[in-house]
């Protein structure tokens, strides 16, 4: 049965067509080394030129270098051609080529402002190991944030564990959880460790995979709602981070809030919610580069 790694999500990259890689005045990059995923965005004069998303290895500096290398493949540029690199994320102190590091809170705020525009007021970042609720103003500056919750419950890492247990590919998990007639009661505990034993118990009781997933996703939505209520939810509302791809969680969160999140951005142009932190970092890199040039 273990011949397939159900938890493994695909590593992706893109070089956008029609970009002038030689003529850009400011080539900047943002590298977001998360606990589970590493993201890099290369910008040409403030427009996304290429990007890459990979798994974070056990070595943060290597992950940073690799993901930037992936983003630069086929562009004709090397890391040394980039004028300014900003590092962010959980592993930001370990981004060797970064001239500066900026907290992921500031970068997500700025990135979400770039992806969805100035109407975004509340951002929920659901990452690999933690969840952050961020309130922003129309310029993408942070008004308030809730940085940390108690544990990795309800995060990407938890979903990986569940995907593995139920033998459901991680990118199909959310949709599958929505295939129930009625949502069961949320599981009691979203703790990554205990969730596994609770899920096993439910399966023994004869619950279908769909129903177990529904109960688990519902519990995560409840937890996210409780976190959001501390900073207050003001529309428009957007979800960033890897779990923005999990429709099972996000749809239930929308039901609880009573209104939808902002619709999926233009992913084909690199405006992927999972890249929000790296996009924000690349924009900060451009601003720092211009500030330094002015002296």
């Amino acid at each position: 049965m273990a011949d397939r790694e159900y938890w493994r999500w695909s590593e992706v990259r893109q070089v956008l067509p029609g970009r002038d890689w030689k003529g850009a005045k400011a080539v900047t990059a943002g590298i977001d080394v998360g606990s589970v995923g590493s993201k890099a965005v290369v910008m040409l004069d403030g427009a996304i030129g290429s990007w890459a998303i990979m798994r974070t290895g056990f070595n943060s500096p290597d992950s940073a270098q690799q993901v930037l290398g992936r983003a630069l493949e086929g562009t004709g540029l090397a890391a040394s051609d980039i004028h300014y690199v900003v590092g962010t994320g959980y592993g930001r102190v370990n981004v060797p080529m970064a001239k500066k590091t900026v907290t992921e809170i500031s970068c997500h705020a700025r990135g979400a402002n770039h992806i969805w525009g100035k109407s975004v007021r509340t951002i929920l970042d659901v990452g690999g190991q933690d969840i952050k609720a961020i309130r922003v103003d129309e310029a993408g500056n942070v008004v308030s944030f809730l940085m940390n919750d108690k544990c990795a419950a309800g995060t990407g890492r938890g979903m990986e564990v569940i995907a593995d247990l139920l033998a459901v590919p991680i990118d199909e998990l959310g949709e599958l959880s929505l295939k129930v007639d009625q949502d069961p009661a949320p599981v009691n505990c979203t703790c990554v460790v205990f969730a596994k034993s609770e899920a096993v118990a439910l399966l023994r009781k004869g619950w279908s995979k769909e129903k177990v997933l529904a109960a688990y996703c519902a519990a995560m939505a409840v937890r996210m709602h409780s976190l959001l209520s501390r900073v207050g939810v003001e529309r428009e509302f957007a979800v960033t981070g890897g779990q923005s791809r999990n429709s099972g969680i996000v749809t239930r969160l929308e039901r609880t809030l009573g209104f939808p999140r902002l619709p999926a951005a233009d992913v084909a142009a690199g405006l992927d919610p999972m890249l929000a932190g790296a996009i924000g970092a690349a924009l900060y890199a451009k601003a720092f580069h211009e500030k330094a040039a002015k002296g």
């Binding site: 500056n141 942070v142 008004v143 308030s144 940390n148």
Partner: protein, 94 residues
């Protein structure tokens, strides 16, 4: 910018909040905390760095116990030490 550090769980609600706009970076709260739960950190204001108080990462998930050391009926030592009133504390065990 207000930073909320802490959590709400089945045992209650525990938060320390720092208003970065009010914080002057004097570090008096860091010195006043009997559990050494605070530290100074650097944030961006516009494009400039600003040094402000924050809750130490190792304490963020243990505020029930860490802040349980102080008397919450009046102001806590960190709040009392803060001239501009930038520190807010919520400690509500059920």
């Amino acid at each position: 910018m207000i930073a909320h550090y802490g959590y709400r769980d089945a045992s209650g609600e525990y938060f320390v909040s720092i208003d970065a706009a009010l914080c002057t970076g004097c570090a008096e709260c860091v010195a006043a905390c009997p559990r050494q739960a605070m530290e100074m950190t650097t944030i961006l204001v516009g494009l400039d760095d600003k040094s402000v108080a924050a809750v130490r990462e190792s304490s963020r998930k243990e505020l029930r116990h860490v802040c349980g050391a102080c008397d919450h009926r009046g102001g806590t030592p960190c709040q009392a030490a803060c001239g501009p009133k930038a520190v807010g504390v919520t400690w509500k065990p059920l």
